[in-house]
Amino acid sequence: MTLSEEELAEELADGTLTRPPSRARMVAGRFFRSTQGLIGFAVLALMFLLAFVGPLFSPWTYTDKDFTAFMQPPSARHWFGTLQTGSDVFAVTLRGMQKSLVVGLLAALVSTALAAVVGAFAGYFLGWTDRVLSWVTDLLLVLPAFLILAILSPLFGSGQWPLFVVMLALFLWMVTSKIVRGMAISVKEREFVQAARYMGVPPVRIIFRHVIPNLSSLLIVDATLNVSSAILTETSLSYFGFGIQPPDVSFGTLIADGSLTAVYAPWTFWFVAGLLVVTVLAVNLVGDALRDAFDPSSGKA
């Protein structure tokens, strides 16, 4: 067990530093080996492609109006049919999808980052930090988010959608943050954090180096699921006219209009509703598969 100097030198000489497959690569490997993850990812990629590349192939833009075709069913000329106004359903649907996807992604990103930081600080420091942060979290949980967003909707007028994203995120992070706080408390008790503390690593560095990375699986999964929450919330708000404001369109505004005419013009409702459901479903599948990929107990396939 005790090595002589030569042995040591020998060991060190051939001790080539080979980097192992990184954790990210391993998780990705497991993710793509699950059917569920693969399907979710493929569908989601397809949706993005459709939303951002699709319009290039469409003869109509979302502002165009075909005055020769009002409320027409799908045809070669209008793939998804037309609306009362003569707008091409395909073009407006893709435009709405772009908005919804971008809003959903950004809102999820912001809210998850917020949740991670607030939760980790509250859970790590406890005491007054925790009391203040938890109180704010509770307050936001108690405030009816929908109402505040609805009242503030005039502020999100045309072109102001980034503000909308921030407000949306502001009402999405609380539950995650509570979970993160709980987990941060238990991670803090874990011996590797204690070891770092007793080694003299400063607290903020411990939070960013040990605590948050060890919650990363939760956070990534949660970010994914927040994408779908954000899309759904955006849809509901816009449905009632409180979200994305005209002339901009999103899934919500389109569904609101479509639901009125759905009985006699199904194409105005079902294409949008279908795409929305498929998108969210794909996001959820990705989130669930990611959870499995992160969870070592789910077995190295």
Partner: protein
């Protein structure tokens, strides 16, 4: 215990006060009741509008804090002020509260019970057909927002009435039809109105609760105490229901508090789309009609009910778990 409860209630009271005040202040700043008078014909003279708004405590020329003080004073006396039309907010809310309450409670009971049941069954036969089916369905349901689901249900209901029943069985508008006579037919009529909104509200809950219960149940299935129960000679079914399910239900209860806010929002959409005259419908209408006092009153009620749900979850948790009671 009593001291603890008192402290928790105090904390809740503070939260409600702050939340309601914030809601009032935001509403009073962002909503513009004056604009309601702009498209009246004939256009009332500004002085009259001012006078009316002042009577309703809605005049934006009065300083915000002064309006807030008047409103808060009223609330403390149990008076939520007047609607834009001049009627007392209290009367309106009282009438509508019952409607929303019935819908939410029914949705909650259906949603949580069925969800727990589905989740438990799925866990017991993990990877069986029922597990796969329920997992797939809950994924699908979770991808459908209430506004879309409600509209789909309406379309499906109309289709079913036409093609399956051949008459109006599933009613999609309002809580009851006017002019139905006799107790029996009234009950039937109410039930007919109830089916679709309840589905719309509870399907999402079933999906959420079943996923959660399934995971909890899977955790518990391998637990030592279930093995002990089996080692005593209990049959699998008895060990699962008496020991595993009973214990796995505990954490699900805490989850209940988290979902309650979402449930209220869901109820808002459901009411609005199915034309139930509840608080949710009123909330959306009052935002459009710049009805500051109604908006504030409803927010206050929402805050109170979310906290009541949290408290109920805690109490239920304590009732189910002796470790918490200790």
């Amino acid at each position: 215990m009593a001291g603890f409860l008192a402290r928790r209630l105090l904390n809740y009271a503070v939260l409600v006060v702050v939340a309601a005040s914030l809601a009032y202040l935001v509403a009073a700043t962002a909503l513009d009741p004056r604009s309601n008078y702009a498209d009246r014909t004939p256009k009332p003279p500004p002085a009259v509008v001012d006078a009316q708004l002042t009577v309703l405590n809605l005049n934006d020329k009065t300083p915000l804090l002064q309006r807030y003080a008047v409103w808060a004073g009223g609330v403390l006396r149990g008076d939520f002020g007047k609607t834009v039309a001049g009627a007392p907010v209290n009367d309106d809310i009282k009438r509508r509260m019952g409607v929303t309450f019935r819908l939410v409670i029914l949705g909650l009971v259906c949603g949580s019970l069925l969800g727990v049941l589905v989740g438990a069954l799925a866990a017991v036969r993990q990877y069986g057909w029922f597990d796969r089916l329920s997992t797939g369905l809950s994924f699908l349901v979770l991808a459908v927002p209430v506004v879309v689901l409600a509209n789909m249900l309406i379309l499906a209901g109309a289709w079913a009435n036409q093609h399956v029943f051949g008459r109006q069985v599933l009613l999609v508008s309002g809580e009851y039809s006017a002019g139905v006579e006799g107790l029996g037919s009234q009950v039937v009529d109410r039930l007919q109105h109830l089916v679709l909104p309840t589905i719309s509200l509870s399907v999402g809950l079933i999906a959420v609760f079943s996923r959660y219960q399934r995971n909890m149940m899977l955790d518990v299935l391998g637990a030592d105490f279930v093995r002990t129960a089996r080692a005593k000679g209990l049959s699998r079914r008895r060990a699962l229901t008496r020991h595993a399910l009973r214990t796995a239900m505990i954490p699900v209860v805490t989850y209940f508090a988290f979902t309650f806010g979402a449930l209220l929002t869901g109820a808002t959409f459901t009411e609005k789309i199915f034309g139930w005259h509840g608080l949710g419908e009123q909330l959306i209408n009052s935002i459009f009609s710049n009805d500051v006092n109604t908006v504030a009153a409803i927010s206050l009620l929402a805050a109170v009910s979310v906290l009541c749900a949290a408290l109920a979850a805690d109490l239920l948790h304590a009732a189910l778990d002796p470790r918490v009671r200790a």
